[in-house]
Amino acid sequence: MKIVLLTFSGLLLLAGHALVYAAEETDPEIRFNDQIRPILSAYCFACHGPDSGSRKADLRLDDRESAIDSGAVSPGDPANSELISRIFSDDPDLVMPPPETGKTLSNEERDLLRRWVEAGADWEPHWAFIKPQRPKLPAPAGADTWARNEIDLFVLQKLHELGLEPNGQEDQHLLARRAAFDLTGLPPTPELLEEFFSLTGGSPAGPDAYEQYIDRLFASQHAGEHRARYWLDAARYGDTHGMHVDNYREIWPYRDWVIRAFNNNMPFDQFVVEQIAGDLLPNPSLDQQIATGFSRCNITTSEGGAIPEELDVRYMVDRVETTSTVFLGLTAGCAVCHDHKYDPLSQREFYQLGAFFNNTTQPAMDGNQKDTPPVVVLPAKEFEEEWNQLQKERRQLRQQLTELSFMPGEWWPNRQRDARHPIADDELLLCLPLTEGEGDAIELPESATWETEHPFGTRGVRFGENSEFSIDFPQLKSDEALTISFWFRTPDDLISTTLFDQTQKVAKKGTEDKEKPEEVTVGWKITSGTAGNLNFEIFDRSGNDVSGRLPDNDALKPRAWQHVCVRYSGGQSTSSITILLNGRQIALRNSTEEHIEATELADVPLKVAGSLPTAGMSDVRIFRRWVNDEEVQLLAVDGELRRLLNSDVPWDDLQPEERDRLDHYYQRAIRDDSRNLSRELANTQLRRDYIYSRSTTTLIMEERPTAPRAWVLQRGEYDRPVDEVTPNVPAALPSLPSNVPGNRLALADWLVDPDHPLTARVTVNRLWQSIFGTGLVKTSEDFGIMGDRPSHPELLDWLAVEFVESGWDVNHMLKLMVTSAAYRQSCKVTPEKLADDVENRLLSRGPRMRLDAEALRDQALAVSGLLQPDVGGPSVKPYQPAGLWNVVAITGSNTRYFKKDTGPALYRRSLYTFWKRTSPPPSMAAFNAPTREQCTVRRERTNTPLQALVLMNDPQFVESARFLAERTLRKFEDDESRAKWMLETVLCRPASDLDVTEMSSTAVELRKTFQQNEESASELVKTGDTTPDPDLNIADLAAWTMVANILMNRDDFINK
């Protein structure tokens, strides 16, 4: 049979699909992608598709060559095609699909397959994998009078094909409101409306007036907020880690970056590159690093007992799924365990994609901390300059340290043998060797004995009953550094105990002069619990304290000597505390960052070893300075060092690790220049920590220096790696350029390559979905073989090409959509149109749908006048019923107790509402807001009684109603005017007479009720934090609050 490649035909452009194979006798009625592929994917591909693992009889029908080679299909010859004979077979052992699948082909489907084979069995690649071409514009009849731009030509063409006509123009007020919601997520302001209608002179607007209005909406900073809101669903943005303890996570600067990007109409290709790989751009700016927060929004955990390798795989899988859903519109997740059953994505290719993301410096366990590294710091304004200076200084010091010349062992022959301290003893406040025969004699409790199991052969003290003793100790200050280093032998059974305690009760600051001053504890102490969770705590004089505690999985071990070092930098914050065990810093269980004031601490002796029977201690040293990490490491091996220094072993006979340790000691503790430099570096660290603990951080991506790689995992199980793979993209899509390193930057550039068939299509489709309610491809998350076919394929391709050629101009695309005639149609629907176009996929009317959760709340705030319009900043906690967090949270979670904000924070736009992922904002969840645990590109739009309860009863809606009523009552005296103004304010259009009459009579009726029961009235108007205007009549206000509540539940308020 002859096959003709129609690559040069004009047909290609018309179809918008490249590479159409066709036989001479092509049956014009059969198109592979339209008719045949749906049958094959529904009935055959599960066993005879791309998945090599589940493929039966080694037959694949998604690939023409394989199908022909195996004899399943003989083009033009159905009688000799196994596929055809099997589907027509009566023999239950032969017939396909096999009876046990429960699937049966219809007669039409069988016949179609037969005719298709007869006609030559053309295959087409899946439409979405073919680069879109700009299709020829259709020229439907009537276009000249109706169409406003290219979109309309495609829409009208399709309507005509199905014998439908578009609706007439929408009412201008409704249109203005619709456009304002679609572009800013808010109703139009009265000023904007006034301007719009003054441009039109009150008559149906000319093209200019509407376009100017649209431009004004784009210019609003709320436009970027609104666009960002959709993106944050896709990016799975949240303010907590999302799993288990679900602590606070600080990443809101990423959210603000997204808002800025949209407000600046950042070209979408740049938007993608900075988010996927901003850190890998040359000299990345702070903003470009913040943008990489996109890949840090996935949920993480620090659950005790979790296995890091397993988590690393989870995070990688999530990043691949998100990237693939958001940019490729492909459901990669299936390929975690096996080759994709329908789309050309093998399991190997999945992990090749994974490799791009598998090279981060991020730890698997998030530490339940807000700033799981890697992060960037956004120093508070007042520290910005100092911060940058510090960073520079620290770089220089590190550089100088590496530049010092040093010969290993050069100092050994001339060593000082009896070095008293391995580290400088300045600011050493207390030195208690607590080893028999060393140091000054002190009075120990009687029950104390000497212990010989101490490492390095020295003898530490072992305590018996009544172990506590006191030592004179200077008064410290909370803004000074403090380091406590000691050897500790844990008790036989871990018990709750106090190791060091210099606290006292004092009058609380500000209450000293009162008759009965409030008592608070001031000072510091080190305690330990039954799980070995050593805890350092420091208290100021105002009742605040900060503490650092060892976590369960890194706690003290029972019955063992260990070196403990607790440090406090003087930074007056939780993060000023560090604890090192045996010289190794332990990530502390700090849930929130607390601060204390600068103050004098306790003026009492230091109590040591309170109730520590069977425990032991030695070599206690307390410094009024920050002892740096390296010094601590030296303290932790002090006994060992002294043994070596006092020995006569020649340098070359020492063990390599002993030589390293000694050289390290010499450089950090003995040699002046290096010791001073490292001390200086340590001092800058203190200031750095001080600023850090008062600054915002945000999670970013950062590459390890090694080349990225991943492993194919058998059945997706983390502990069953099969093959190592390097980063690559699926073979069915364009390939990566060969001359660039295979990293995230290469992936990002590849995604936005103008030749990429998917990114532009998937993106314009999501924009379309946000405006028209449903995407041209309804399954906006799945452009694969099992996804829906586009309703207007040519239009989708036209938009995709336009998008790329416009320089990835998002606002240009949105403007095309909202200025189209299709968009500006009336949204009225007749039963006939409902029958022919039930979901409005054909655009036979304007879009009308329920507003999203955020828009509903923002609208109530906006029309009432409560909305606080600031852009950006930390997330806020508006009203939420009590106890919702507590009922799910684990003890110790820092998001266990919800504390409502006060003041303006209650009235911010909803995208700033704090998103706790294990218990998302309830009033938004009721309106289909996702949990943000994983990527969501399409929200449901349900209609439930719980939604009615929110809009009727949620305090934030009731308060809005009351606030609107107050404004109304202050403006107008008579009920008719009040009703009219309120209706117009709420609905952004002139009120009908009937509505006005009805609402004013309702107000009269309600007023009577509330006059009879003023107590109820006052209770109602009390709802919310704002105080009702005392000058207003309370029954009047209550009545109008209820009228506003009615209006804010109207169907045309809830819908756009």
Partner: protein, 480 residues
């Protein structure tokens, strides 16, 4: 509140009378829409009643979050007494992966249960002294001693048993059931969750989420504090009459909007507001236990009147079952006993033993147990070896996914059955393993659903609760 005339009126009004008053405005809108959309007003699950006749109409799952020790409750291992503080043989552990909490432990010393086990009923089932009431109804229960899972930590494990997948995002069992079978009571949600007091391990709202199913199938978490259903109460000062007046005016306007716009969703919305209004009386009536006679209250134990306790929630569960709520799940927290197990499990079992017993008895005497499936269990089991301190009367147990016990009762389940066998260490399954997917398949089976045929297209796959790949099997052996 129940005495208020309007509530009385609401509860007395039959549907016919309700719409008969259309002339007064009340319900006119609602009636119009119901006439036009009868399907929406009735139950309507996608399965049209299920694949085969159901043995259970509803489910009550008593979920013990944090994972109770099977070794101290239902899986009797008398031989272990001689193994006190001896190392768990490597031949038993077989390199099984451990949580990182005990993976570095130098020894795995065996901690025999310190609790006495007694035999109960005709079946002679051994149950620990911690659960005497549960033991006393052994002949009504089927104990599956060989439930297992792959997940070894709480968050993934509880997500797994609830949704069939360790990774968040899938619908929960209750949501699947609501989606498949629809509603039996238009005035209450199909899937209700009752949380007990916060303690120990976390819960997550995803545990009653609808995943990729329509969100109307999400569980509604009833609250012990404030409104039982979020935003149920009118704002302060707004009476039921005021709300009714507000709704009448609203619905009249919405009718006009419908006339103008023709959007069928407007009518659905009118219905939903009426349903919300009905819930404002049906839910308070449901959670008001003041009419329960003393002998019933006594059955459920001393905490029965304290909202948020397991006892109170069990009573509410019964009231919900009576009102045909389809799927009820109680989460009782605080079972994660890594250390100090004996002391902690005493408190836990004391809280659940009597109310769980009372629930089964109460359902039984009302004839509801026949078609109500009751389930008791957690997300995994616990190790025979001790974590941390081990004495004869104090020990802890780490997570153990390889076997644990779940009991079921009612809803076509055979009583007095013990299914499956674990080894003498309660560590490995010897016979009849029941994966948590099998457990879920069994629950669906009792509801008349073939889990294999209960699929929903999502992202190109025929997703099901029991996973797209692995074949789960209902445990037919425990079905009566």
């Amino acid at each position: 509140m129940n005495q208020h005339p309007i509530n009385e009126w609401i509860s007395l009004e039959t549907r016919r009378q309700f719409f008969g008053r259309a002339a007064k405005g009340l319900g006119a809108a609602a009636m119009a829409s119901l006439v036009q959309h009868p399907a929406q007003a009735e139950s309507g699950g996608v399965l049209n009643g299920g694949h085969f006749p159901a043995r259970a109409k509803r489910v009550i799952w008593l979920f013990m979050a944090g994972a109770p020790s099977h070794l101290d409750t239902f899986d009797y291992k008398p031989e272990m007494v001689d193994w006190f503080n001896k190392d768990l043989p490597e031949s038993v552990r077989k390199g099984q992966r451990l949580t990182t909490m005990t993976a570095s432990q130098a020894r795995f010393p065996i901690a025999p249960s310190m609790f006495r086990f007694d035999q109960y009923g005709e079946s002679g089932k051994y149950v620990s002294e911690l659960l005497p009431k549960t033991g006393s109804m052994s002949d009504d229960l089927a104990f599956i001693q060989t439930v297992w899972t792959e997940a070894i930590n709480h968050d993934p494990a509880i997500t797994y048993i609830q949704t069939g997948n360790q990774i968040p995002g899938r619908p929960t069992l209750g949501a699947w059931v609501s989606y498949g079978l629809g509603t039996m009571n238009r005035n209450l949600p199909d899937f209700v969750v009752l949380n007990c007091e916060p303690r120990g391990q976390a819960l997550y709202s995803r545990l009653w989420g609808s995943g990729f199913l329509p969100s109307v199938h999400s569980g509604v978490a009833f609250r012990a504090q404030g409104d039982p259903v979020l935003y149920l109460s009118n704002p302060g000062g707004v009476s039921a009459e005021t709300r009714r007046l507000m709704l009448d005016r609203l619905q009249a306007m919405n009718e006009r909007i419908y006339d103008e716009m023709g959007d069928p969703e407007t009518h659905t919305r009118i219905n939903q507001y009426e349903m919300a209004f009905r819930m404002q009386s049906s839910v308070p009536e449901l959670v008001d236990v003041s009419g329960e006679p003393k002998h019933i209250l006594d059955m459920y134990g001393e905490d029965v009147l304290k909202p948020g306790t397991f006892g109170h929630n069990c009573l509410l569960a019964r009231r919900m079952a009576e009102r045909d709520v389809r799927f009820i799940q109680i989460f009782h927290r605080g079972w994660d006993h890594h250390s100090g197990l004996p002391e902690n499990i005493r408190r836990q079992t004391k809280e659940v033993d009597q109310p769980a017993w009372a629930l089964v008895q109460d359902l039984k005497r009302r004839g509801l147990l026949d078609d109500t499936l009751v389930i008791w269990g957690g997300e995994f089991g616990r190790t025979i070896y001790s974590q941390g301190t081990l004495t004869k009367t104090n020990y802890g147990r780490d997570h153990h996914p390889k076997c644990y016990t779940v009991w079921m009762a009612g809803g076509g389940i055979q009583g007095g059955v013990t299914h499956g066998l674990t080894d003498e260490f309660g560590y490995n399954i010897v016979e009849k393993p029941v994966h948590i997917r099998d457990l879920n398949a069994t629950i669906l089976h009792q509801l008349g659903i073939d889990h294999k045929r209960f699929t929903v297209k999502h992202r190109g796959l025929d997703e099901r609760l029991t996973g797209v790949q692995v074949e789960a099997q209902p445990v037919k052996a425990i079905i009566s």
